[in-house]
């Protein structure tokens, strides 16, 4: 990619312009996410960079953990400008609860289905595949409307059950896709070998298939978790205050009381996504190594 030494000045100009454009785009992609982090440590009740924060040497008055204390429900301030409640913490607990339950079922159902879809004898494969990944394709607002009408009929709106069912449906496509991708190039002879040595199907699954596809299953589970954890449209319509989740609370926060508490939670979520991204990347490399696929 580097410029050859015989490049003409015009080529050089083009090349550097091209690099400049690329770095601007990278900046555009990442800048908003980075910008919110310092603001979340601000003293000011507005979501802005204050004068004190920009000054050098740093002004300790301008920085504080005030909004993080608000977020976890510790209210020590005398004059409250923002309602201080434990809503964020209730939301966190609910989000993790819904996330874990739906991830569990989505991963189990999705992995089984991916195993079936990867078998050479699967009938109507294209049709079934398109049904299975349709929840990922249909816009969320349509899904939410359809589910709201239907779940209202069977008394599942404003319940955890309803939300979890919806989240399982939304996140299984990710599991199916990642596990199916891991199963590409899976050597079926290993299953045959295991069976010819006397292992029953269940034992074969746990001792032979599972260890090989585990990285894919875990990535799928992480995708499923983040789908449920970040999902806002469904909870907006199908959850009452009893099922408050982080996204629902953030939505309410952005609409009503714009305060830096939202940015504190946003910072936590960015940290969470960095963690998940790293995990998935490491798992993918491990999986490729295990299956003997090298990248180029």
């Amino acid at each position: 990619m580097a410029l050859p030494s015989y490049a003409t000045p015009v080529q050089r100009t083009y090349y550097y312009a091209y690099l400049l454009i690329c770095s601007l785009v990278f900046f555009f992609l990442i800048a908003p996410l980075v910008a919110i982090i310092p603001i979340s440590f601000s003293q000011s009740p507005f979501m802005v960079f204050t004068k004190g924060m920009m000054s050098w040497p740093p002004d300790p008055e301008a920085w504080s953990l005030r909004w993080y204390r608000y977020m976890v429900g510790i209210c020590t301030d005398e004059n409250l400008t923002t309602p201080c409640s434990n809503k964020w913490m209730i939301g966190t607990v609910n989000s993790f609860f819904v996330g874990f339950v739906s991830t569990f079922f989505a991963t189990a159902l999705g992995t089984l289905a991916a195993l079936g879809l990867s078998r050479p004898h699967m009938p109507y494969k294209a049709l079934i595949m398109s049904i299975l990944i349709s929840p990922m394709i249909v816009p969320l607002i349509i899904t939410a409307a359809g589910m709201f009408f239907f779940y209202a009929k069977i008394n599942l709106v404003y319940t955890f059950t309803g939300i979890i069912l919806a989240h399982i449906a939304l996140s299984t496509p990710f599991v199916v896709i990642t596990v199916t991708a891991t199963l590409v190039g899976f050597d079926m002879n290993m299953v045959k070998a295991s069976q010819s040595l006397g292992a029953r199907p269940v034992r074969t699954f746990f001792k032979v298939i599972m260890p090989l596809i585990l990285p894919g299953v875990i990535s799928g589970a992480l995708f499923a978790f983040i789908t449920s954890f970040d999902e806002v449209v469904i909870v907006m319509f199908m959850a009452s205050l009893d099922q408050l989740t982080i996204p629902k609370q953030m939505w309410a926060g952005i609409r009503q009381e714009i305060s830096p508490v939202i940015l504190c939670m946003a910072t936590c979520l960015v940290a969470l996504s960095i963690f998940l991204l790293t995990t998935v990347e490491l798992l993918r490399r491990r999986s490729e190594k295990m299956r003997g696929i090298s990248r180029q």
Partner: protein
């Protein structure tokens, strides 16, 4: 040996079955086994997802609620010879008298809203009548002529227009919501006409939805192309590192990214702050970049950009570098070589990314809702609005169905070009 084969036509397995039959049996068994693995999820998705969507489609043409409330009335109404008689016969008045009186209050109330879609005035007419009927029945003296009594309660019952407008409600299936979704309605005789000037908002929003989606797709292509090219041509060590810049936003909560854009773009926000600090604009001329269409386009472009970069990257990755060199070797200038040799090979990636971004953009709801303000709302806004605020679920379902149909056509295209099971994550 030759004798044995020639005497038996078929090869037999150890069970004594012909090989062909035995193979077919095993094959079927395998098929069933594979299907059984998929079955639980398939059933789950059908029950929790496909059926609700189907239910929504049915709801968009459903008009049965009002038919249940006014069952008797509509039965008599169908016998009315509306061509020749000015007003319906006595039997219709008697039936509607009873339907209003005995009807469940909630159900009658719901039906009122529906009746007002056909002709405004129904709501107050029925409400007033219902109160009067209660009094009459309470007094114990049932009217001798229902027709006269009702007209004396409210002159609307003598107005032919109300009765004619009822014709649109008699059928259990209706397409009125679809007409409403594109700013049209029925006039009193059942012809399709445009809505009143001040009630036309849907066509405007549909057009805006397409316009914003086209802009966002265009900007994503413009910004995504050079980045994908760079990622595809850098050594793996660097490109893996730079890939984080693309994947991190992809993994971050949509709400976080949307909030971040509000922080960046608002009047006291980061971008305006930097512009003032650089002296490009004065403190009192801060640019309004959020809560309008500009905000929607900027935020959506950043949010959807990874969906353009990833397909482009995977296509560019496999284009041999020797092609460009060969073209230049044969005398093409770099620009010409790029346009004639490189660009055509990236078309599959551009169409895949473009379609994906476009499809995602027309169904977007969260981001436009938060940063769009008044003139940056997309069609999803109306679905949510009618679902939660006006409770006009028929119209909500109709808009949803139209959007879904557009979506399916676009995905059909996507499938033709890339294949739906080629979707990859990260």
């Amino acid at each position: 040996m030759e004798d044995i084969i020639s005497t038996t036509d078929q090869i037999l397995t150890t069970d004594g079955l012909p090989l062909k039959v035995s193979l077919r049996k095993t094959e079927r068994k395998n098929k069933i086994r594979a299907f059984l693995l998929v079955f639980p999820l398939l059933l789950f998705i059908i029950v929790t997802f496909v059926v609700p969507i189907g239910d929504m489609l049915l709801r968009s043409v459903d008009d049965s609620q009002i038919n249940n409330v006014y069952a008797k009335t509509f039965e008599e109404y169908n016998k009315w010879d509306s061509e020749n008689d000015e007003l319906p016969p006595e039997a219709v008045y008697e039936a509607i008298f009873n339907d209003i009186h005995y009807g469940d209050k909630v159900q009658v109330g719901k039906a009122l809203t529906r009746m007002n879609y056909s002709k405004s005035g129904w709501k107050s007419l029925i409400k007033k009548t219902r109160r009067a009927i209660k009094k009459i029945v309470k007094s114990g003296e049932l009217p001798t002529s229902y027709k006269e009594t009702m007209i004396s309660i409210h002159e609307g019952w003598g107005d032919r227009l109300f009765w004619v407008s009822m014709k649109q409600m008699v059928n259990e299936k209706t397409v009125i919501y679809y007409w409403n979704a594109i700013d049209r309605t029925y006039d009193i005789d059942g012809n399709v006409i445009m809505q009143d000037e001040k009630r036309r908002m849907y066509i405007k929003t549909w057009i805006r939805t397409f316009k914003v989606s086209v802009y966002v797709t265009f900007f994503c292509l413009l910004l995504g192309f050079p980045v994908a090219h760079l990622l595809a041509n850098l050594p793996l060590r660097y490109s893996n590192l730079l890939m984080i810049f693309v994947l991190l936003p992809f993994w971050t909560s949509l709400l976080v990214r949307t909030t971040a854009w509000i922080v960046m773009l608002q009047q006291k926000g980061v971008i305006n702050g930097v512009l003032v600090w650089l002296g490009i604009i004065n403190d009192d001329q801060r640019i309004q970049m959020v809560y309008n269409m500009t905000g929607t386009i900027i935020a959506m472009t950043q949010i959807l950009l990874p969906f353009m970069i990833l397909p482009l990257y995977s296509v560019m990755k496999v284009i041999p570098k020797s092609h460009m060199r060969a073209a230049q070797n044969l005398g093409a200038k770099p620009v010409r070589a790029f346009i004639r040799v490189y660009l055509p090979q990236t078309v599959p990636g551009m169409s895949a990314g473009g379609l994906l971004v476009f499809v995602l953009a027309i169904g977007y709801f969260i981001t436009p809702e938060l940063v769009g303000g008044k003139d940056g709302q997309l069609i999803g806004h109306w679905i949510a609005y009618h679902l939660k605020t006006t409770l006009n679920w028929g119209l909500c379902a109709a808009i949803g169905s139209i959007l879904l149909a557009i979506m399916l056509v676009l995905y059909w295209l996507y499938n033709k070009i890339v294949g739906i099971d080629n979707i990859k994550l990260g």
